[in-house]
Amino acid sequence: MAMNKIRGAFAVPRKGETFELRAGLVSQYAYERKESIQKTIMAMTLGKDVSALFPDVLKNIATADLEQKKLVYLYLMNYAKSHPDLCILAVNTFVQDSEDPNPLIRALAIRTMGCIRVDKMVDYMEEPLRKTLRDESPYVRKTAAICVAKLFDLNPAMCLENGFLEMLQEMIGDPNPMVVANSVTALSEIQHTAPETRALQVTANTLRKMLMALNECTEWGRVTILSTLAEYRAVDVKESEHICERVSPQFQHVNSGVVLAAVKVVFLHMKYVGPELAKTYLKKMAPPLVTLVSSAPEVQYVALRNIDLLLQKQPDILNKELRVFFCKYNDPPYVKFQKLEIMVRIANDRNVDQLLAELKEYALEVDMDFVRRAVKAIGQVAIKIESASEKCVNTLLDLINTKVNYVVQEAIVVIKDIFRKYPGYEGIIPTLCKCIDELDEPNARAALIWIVGEYAEKISNAGDILGGFVDGFNEEFSQTQLQILTAVVKLFLKRPEKAQGLVQRVLQAATAENDNPDVRDRAYIYWRLLSNTSDQNATKNIVLSDKPPIVTTISSLPPTLLDQLLQELSTLSSVYHKPPEQFVGQGRFGADAVQRAAIEEQLQNARENPLAAAAAAAVSGTAPSAQAQNNVENLLDIDFDGGAPASAQKEPTGELSGLEGLAGTPVRVQSPAAGAAPAQGNLDDLLGVFGESGPSHTSPAGASSGGAGDLMNGFAGLDLSGGPAPAPHGAPPNSGSQDMMDLI
């Protein structure tokens, strides 16, 4: 009766696919019914809405055919939400099934019940769940354990009232390892979503039970237990030692998830054991880590990102293993890039020859992005290992002689940093100057001009070179313009007789004919400094002062962030090198929060790592794609199949807010320190200091090719000299530091 009424309400079409399916579902022949159910599921997968068939599918629920039952259940799980009232008709079957003599059916019933997210169903779950948690079959118990987590997700209050949490906690002592593992899994999930429940409190007793189950349960169970152990703080040194001892055999497991989880446990607990013992463990974890590098590329990528983190904390664990990180010709780019970074990290004076030969080989390949990174790596090695600097410079010169345009450009950028660290390579300047016509990227041009300005006294034709640039001043990128300005002033201070006219011309061009306020400001500052007659040396002290040396050009994470990330080993967070807050779960707090996070993440990505940027944003940081990204963002947040999340209800005009976020984007690019979170700001500063600039740098006038030394060059020196200060004292500290970066 009730069924008929409802069917009437849906006004069924008399023909078409749905009609045929319906006819099949109510057929008198069992095989036809089963076939129709299969077809219905197929249609469901293809994205067709077959929810109208709900009552007819439901009729087939009471069957002895296990396969058919599973299909009906699958359908139920998908469409229960659209027919909450009808679900009640299925309850009886579920309750019956949960008492079936066949454990497979009991487990299936309780597993499916938990997935039908309808209040009515939840009300009937209590009894079956209680029974199955105490079932004689471990298979049913392990399924019921997970079901508690499902129930908690749906209705925490009910879960707590009925004491399911306590039952679950008892089940950590279950004789069956898989039941233990699933109980820990469920408890750990509840603990993470609602820490106040204190669902998973590891005691000496549960610790013992988990360590026992560790050796017997499935690989996935091991990962869960190991992750729990990693979060656990041992009460004393002895316990830490015990955990390490019991966990380290898992390094030999074939599943990389288990290996990384075990590494994580040992790495975190190692801090508390004696240094000798810690050293043996470090030694022990190296071979398994290396083995991960020969797995499938995707797993390799995760492993390499994690190895990168571990190396930042313990730089010497893999220093004998350079060769395994050599790139294979067919490695996917994301693996190659990461391998390069790791190779530079483990470079030392023993393996540097091998490394340089390898990097040179890479620099001759065809993938432009990879080649650039290889050249950059050579520069990083030069600055890291003093004894190798000469070899590095020679390698770079060899590369410049190949005359491949992008290789030359990248090499020049890199050589500029080497000049900053090691004096005595002025001899190669003529070689560099020969390439001047081939440079078309602002970065490379700026680097070469900086070199010319810095060594103006040693380059006889410096005036001619710079003169050429001054002639085309207004056609240059502003980044290059700033460098030309500085270089000409340096030349003038060093050899006033040669550059008198030049400096006039460039200041004229920069102040009168230029649109960029940064360029104009800097030109004015120089102008005033130069026209200051009271103290002749003041200008020299400022512009030509000694620069603090570069320590490294290898980017590393700030220590606090690194420690945080080490707690997250093997998770997505460790792959992105970002704390989890930056990419998960803020949807609940409003669409714009998510959007802001996404935009910020994207920007930071673009700044520090173009590859990760490509991962986070589908296309690297250009404006139209950012917009596409935002649209996607909105799609993600708006629920299209009922049960809209809070975000969509609060923000009905999600589309609009996305655009607002976009409008804000360029502002944030200009002053990263202002908009970003503290930790991120830190990183930004660091990145700026190291002159880190990916090809997809979003800010044209950003602090890119500069360095820490030059930062001091502009203003800081001024205060020391005590001369009249034209510096904008009123500027806020944040943007002040930004300006300093520009004043190279």
Partner: protein, 447 residues
């Protein structure tokens, strides 16, 4: 953990959509299609949009995608996806679009069984095959309560990989030692990198619950001083320090190999191996991978390649590639394939070989030289010439490496040997064991 598993074909059609959590919405399929499949620029296997992360692997012509909404365990997610591939292959032979389309009901059933609320459960092929079958008829077994309680016992037990009631008339065990030898040699002939990735695959047809012990000529195992150091340790893993210390001492035990690292199937008792390096296990029935290992010291390279490549002007490249077999003359390699890259603008080639056949494959930009049988200690030479067509855009040729493929029976590059395989069972039956060795080319490249 996982919010859903999606399968796509190359065109981006959604073949399987299984949500495990309510936050995995049908819309996500479109987003993955637009953002990854339709976007050639995406190069990373992990993509996060908003708070949704897509992790994907490609197998044959399908994409397997895991959707996560939290800070999931990335290593576990990929391992799981690869396990899904393994399962698919063992069920359907080939896990491709066609297999997925023909068996989508079974795949849903499998997914339901191996993932619960997004947490991976038992993924052992043999166990799953007991109650999830390709022929619907067999599910009768699962329908009878007594059988299924046995099945569930196994699916969760400490020996989740083995049934208890296996019987064979003839008890046999086959051990295959398969090594992939990797070589990276520079153009000047220096070996940049040479190592071996080995796997030991076992096919066990043994009755009852046999306890196996397995021995190799692993030096740490053989070296009496090491085992003494390990035996005498007081706890806390101090013995392992002694072990790794020894590894770098003299190569005392002749005829033994040093394994850099090994990994075992989950049936192997890891604790036991860690303490006294004994490999003991109760094997699953049928074929499984017992262990994987890595060796980097004293790698015997089966082939020495001596290539001379001369670019003559811009119109011609001359090749002279000599290959010498470095193994005993009693052995021979089969299916030796040498791929010699040619410039992209190659117009035609001429080849002369002292053995085998060479052919130019324009679509691969390779000269492919095939030698079906390569006996030990012999040396073969290929001389070839590639004539280049004139191009307006003269771009440097990056010279990809020359690569080799081969397989050699009864030869191990690492020198690894199986010393014994002992089977202990209650009924004390005798068993026959067979060992086979094979070395294949992993990535065998000469620049």
């Amino acid at each position: 953990m996982l919010s859903g598993i999606l399968v796509f074909n190359q065109k981006g059609e959604n073949l399987i959509f299984r949500a495990f959590r309510s936050d995995c919405r049908p819309r996500l399929a479109d987003i993955f299609r637009i953002q990854v499949i339709a976007n050639p620029q995406v190069r990373s296997p992990i993509l996060t949009l908003g708070s949704t992360t897509f992790s994907h692997v490609k197998h044959e012509n399908i994409y397997l995608v895991a959707v996560t909404k939290s800070n999931a365990n990335a290593a576990l997610v990929f391992e799981f996806l690869f396990r899904l591939v393994v399962l698919g292959r063992s069920y359907f032979g080939k896990f491709d679009e066609e297999a997925v389309k023909n068996n989508f009901v079974l795949i849903y059933e499998l997914l339901d069984e191996i993932l619960d609320f997004g947490y991976p459960q038992n993924t052992e092929t043999d166990t799953l095959k007991m109650y999830i079958t390709t022929e619907g008829v067999k599910s009768d077994i699962a329908n009878s309560p007594s059988d299924s309680s046995r099945i569930t016992q196994q699916a969760t037990g400490a020996l989740s990989w083995r049934r208890s009631d296996i019987k064979y008339r003839k008890n046999e065990a086959f051990v295959d030692v398969i090594e992939d030898v990797n070589l990276l040699m520079s153009a000047t002939g220096t070996i940049l990198r040479a190592d071996v990735n080995g796997q030991i695959v076992m096919r066990a047809y043994l009755s009852g619950t046999p306890e196996c012990k397995f021995g190799l000529n692993d030096r740490l195992l053989l070296d009496p001083t090491t085992s003494g150091a390990n035996g005498g340790r007081s706890g806390g893993g101090s013995g392992s320090g002694g072990g790794s210390g020894n590894k770098h001492s003299t190569r005392a035990a002749a005829g033994s190999v040093t394994l850099e690292d090994c990994q075992f199937h989950q049936c192997v008792k890891l604790g036991r191996f860690d303490a006294d390096r004994i490999i003991s296990f109760v094997p699953p029935d049928g074929e499984f991978e017992l262990m994987r290992y890595r060796a980097t010291e004293n790698v015997n390279l089966p082939f020495k390649v001596h290539p001379i490549v001369r670019e003559i002007g811009t119109t011609k490249v001359e090749y002279s590639v000599a290959i010498k077999a470095n193994y005993s003359s009693k052995l021979f390699a089969t299916n030796v394939i040498v791929r010699i890259p040619t410039p992209l603008n190659t117009a035609k080639t001429t080849e002369r070989t002292s053995q085998g056949r060479a052919k130019y494959e324009p679509e691969q930009n390779n000269i492919v030289w095939k030698i079906p049988r390569f006996s030990g200690q012999s040396e073969y030479v290929l001389n070839a010439e590639a004539t280049l067509s004139a191009t307006t855009h003269q771009k440097a040729w990056s010279r990809p490496p020359i690569s080799l493929n081969f397989s050699i029976l009864m030869f191990t590059s690492s020198g690894l040997l199986v010393r014994y395989l002992k089977v202990f069972e209650k009924s004390n039956y005798s068993s026959v064991k067979w060992v086979r060795y094979m070395t294949r080319a992993g990535s065998y490249e000469i620049r």
